[in-house]
Point group: C2
Chain length 128, copies 2
């Protein structure tokens, strides 16, 4: 794969926007380093760099909610990626399908949609 157009930032990261290949819903935004991008492409499963944990992170490795790559795009400046994926279950660790489950209504953020799983049961800890 021609990685020359992909520009990682000063931390070696690039933001990846993840979109449901079927519905077009934007599911999440996460970060990749060079290694996680190469692993994503070779395995077909979305693999990120966890900035908080400082390690590679295969989405779904704990929850089973894998993201299977269907399409890969890069933007004009080469500093953002867009992946269309087949999402198993829910993308968000809170149990919502999309991480963008809070919508601005007037002055307030309102949660929308239903939780597809109980995060405490899946991750064994309180996550939200």
């Amino acid at each position: 794969m021609d990685l020359s157009v992909v520009k990682f930032d000063e931390k070696g990261l690039i933001p990846a926007v993840v979109q449901d290949a079927r519905t077009g819903e934007v599911l999440m935004l996460a970060y990749m380093n060079r290694e996680s991008l190469l692993r994503t492409l070779s395995t077909g499963r979305m693999t990120y760099w966890s900035r908080s944990r400082g390690k590679l992170w295969v989405k779904g490795e704990r929850s089973g909610n894998f993201q299977l790559v269907r399409e890969v795009r890069v933007d004009c400046d080469g500093d953002a990626l867009l992946f269309k994926v087949e999402q198993v279950g829910a993308a968000c660790h809170t149990g919502y399908r999309s991480c963008f489950y809070r919508k601005l209504e007037g002055e307030r953020w309102k949660e929308e949609g239903e939780k597809l799983f109980d995060p405490e049961a899946v991750y064994g800890e309180k996550t939200s």
Copy 2:
């Protein structure tokens, strides 16, 4: 507006994913600081922080290709925003409707779609 859930990074920025409110197409990813977010909300026109030019940037101010805000979302961690917009013309400075006009096919990036305007005519300089 309750800005307490919005987490700006160490540079005071947050990534904003921009999606066509009608088609669901992801158009671009850009960055906002606190001021550009407040201006976006008060004017209804997407306003970013240009990292390369170091100033506020009303999308469309030169090209006329404004982005009118239709919906605002924040993600679970509060460190990414999603805007659904009505895109006038094309989002990309290259003339493509979306900045994500390059799609990975095998080992190569392939341009897709047609240019909606000639960037040289609009911006008066070569941009790609």
